[in-house]
Amino acid sequence: MFPTPIERTPRSWQVTYQSFLPLALILWLLPLIAVAIFSVKPESDFANANYWGWPSEFKGFANYWLVFTASDMPQYMLNSFKITIPTVIGAVALSCMTGFALGIYKFKANIWIFFMFVAGNFVPFQILMVPVRDLTLQLGLYNTITGLVLFHVAFQTGFCTLFMRNFIRALPFELIEAARVEGISEWRIFWFVVLPLMKPAIAALSVLMFTFIWNDYFWAIVLTQGVESQPVTAGITSFNAQYRAAYHLMSAGSIVAALPPVAMFFLMQRHFIAGLTLGAVK
């Protein structure tokens, strides 16, 4: 193990390390801690320029209650869920199929189709912006959740295919050969042999996609406008315009907006990290 395990170092260094660890963490998360403290402060603290001191009074419940009852926040949150969940399902389903096709079968165009997905996944959003907005307008889906979902599904299929294909490549191919010898049809091989083995990849990809889509901002402002369809990332900016200088509410709103992917991460940590670091080890 590198660096030298702490148990094998001098006692003095062990103590230094152990005490430095929490200190480093607090420094690293300082911006977030500040927002968390802001969100439980009463309004008067900001008027009295008590920005970084201890809250004069705990107003956490009142602030968060206000975010949920007096603003459009609940609607934005609901929209985010309505956008994120179908996208995750759609992109994962499509890429299970494309990943299977590219991971199992050998044909000439295989690598080129694979590279099309990979390259497309890397392009800057701006090169797609005008035509995609136009296409969405023509389909009558501008400013709808469906329009945003369709684009996200299509675009994320690129990354998801890369992920699924590499995962399937690492499965033991003998299983498929054995099934073929048994005379099992290709469709059934997909459904009964490969798909059950893909469960960890599906879990990892789902949590990753959830975070990516939830946090999307660019496409939200390009393809939607207004409370009825915008997700929370776009909504938070109008929320901020509404509560300009009401830092306690803006902080509480930001924390609410950030919470679902954070919860997802902590609940599914193992899958999340496995997904993010696929390929980081040979």
């Binding site: 500040a34 096709a101 800057p124 701006q126 901002y217 040979k282």
Partner: protein, 305 residues
């Protein structure tokens, strides 16, 4: 009757014979169609659109390479391009910083798992929220940055209002989640480092920086490659932070190509779709150089298998 059954038989055996050739295409069809319509075709449409003057509603007017000529004389374009280069260079600091934190956390003391996930935390949060948090961090009236600077005797500064500092200030905000990402890549990589090589290195007297550089870093190659890919893509995609923190200001000093393109095509500055598309084409060509390099590396690896 008999004929029909023969035909059917013929059909099923044809399917049976060609099953393995046709199945992949059936599985690929929906994904490819979606991807073509929403990603591949739009790239070509943007190239085409960059030759037109179009406000998004009326008739598009063909203007040849005029948009590119205008770009050539456009000072805001050069500011954006320069900022893109700064982003690319400074964003890469996330890689050594991530490696450093990963080395710091690669221990087995109690609670280290929780430490690792809390250090990773910033990556999970939306960039919109990160931008907001850092805007307050830099705020000239109450930002904690000036509190800290004041404590060491440096006069207060308005980072996001200063043309010379604004881009660096935004990049620092971006480095926060990006470093966390690189850290997690390296933590995974460090897990897989061969302990025998480390022991052999120790016997040869390698330690500290030498050990890191000659024995550890080479083994972290796959993690480094991914860190490079995601960091470069992330740097060229920077948009959310700029939009939230400064909206391109002050006086356009923090624009990058992706933001400038959006501004030109879809904001109160007018709906110049053709000109926006021309900017997007330039950004795309820059990215294409990197994409080509990434694909070449992947291709070599595929061949080697």
């Amino acid at each position: 009757m008999a004929q029909a059954s023969v035909a059917q038989d013929h059909q099923s055996s044809w399917w049976h014979r060609n099953q393995q050739q046709i199945t992949p295409w059936l599985f690929l069809a929906p994904g490819i169609l979606f991807f073509l319509f929403y990603v591949i075709f739009p790239i070509f449409q943007s190239f085409n659109l960059s030759l037109y003057e179009w406000d998004g509603l009326g008739q598009a007017e063909y203007v040849g390479l005029y948009n590119y000529e205008e770009l050539y004389w456009d000072e805001a374009f050069y500011t954006s391009l320069k900022n893109n280069v700064i982003w690319l260079l400074l964003y890469l600091l996330a890689i050594p910083a991530g490696l450093f934190i990963a080395l710091f956390l690669n221990q087995t003391v109690t609670g280290i798992r929780l430490y690792k996930s809390l250090f990773f935390f910033p990556f999970v949060i939306s960039q919109v929220v990160v931008g907001l948090v850092f805007t307050w961090f830099y705020d000239p009236t109450f930002g904690i940055l000036n509190v800290v600077l004041g404590a060491v005797g440096i006069p207060p500064m308005n980072v996001l209002g200063d043309e010379n500092w604004v881009t660096v200030g935004i990049i620092v905000a971006g480095l926060w989640p990006q470093t966390a990402y690189c850290m997690i890549l390296y933590l995974t990589g460090l897990n897989a480092v061969d302990p025998e090589q480390i022991e052999a290195g120790r016997l040869d007297g390698a330690k500290g920086w030498k050990m890191l550089w000659y024995i550890i870093v080479p083994q972290l190659r796959p993690a480094t490659f991914i860190a490079f890919v995601v960091t470069i893509i992330g740097a060229l995609r920077s948009f959310d932070l700029i939009s939230v923190m400064t909206n391109g200001g002050p006086f356009g000093a923090s624009r990058v190509l992706s933001f400038y393109m959006f501004e030109v095509a879809l904001s109160e500055y007018g709906f110049r779709m053709g000109y926006g598309a021309a900017i997007a084409v330039v950004l795309f060509l820059i990215m294409l150089a990197f994409i080509a390099y990434f694909l070449r590396s992947m291709y070599k690896e595929e061949k080697a298998r």
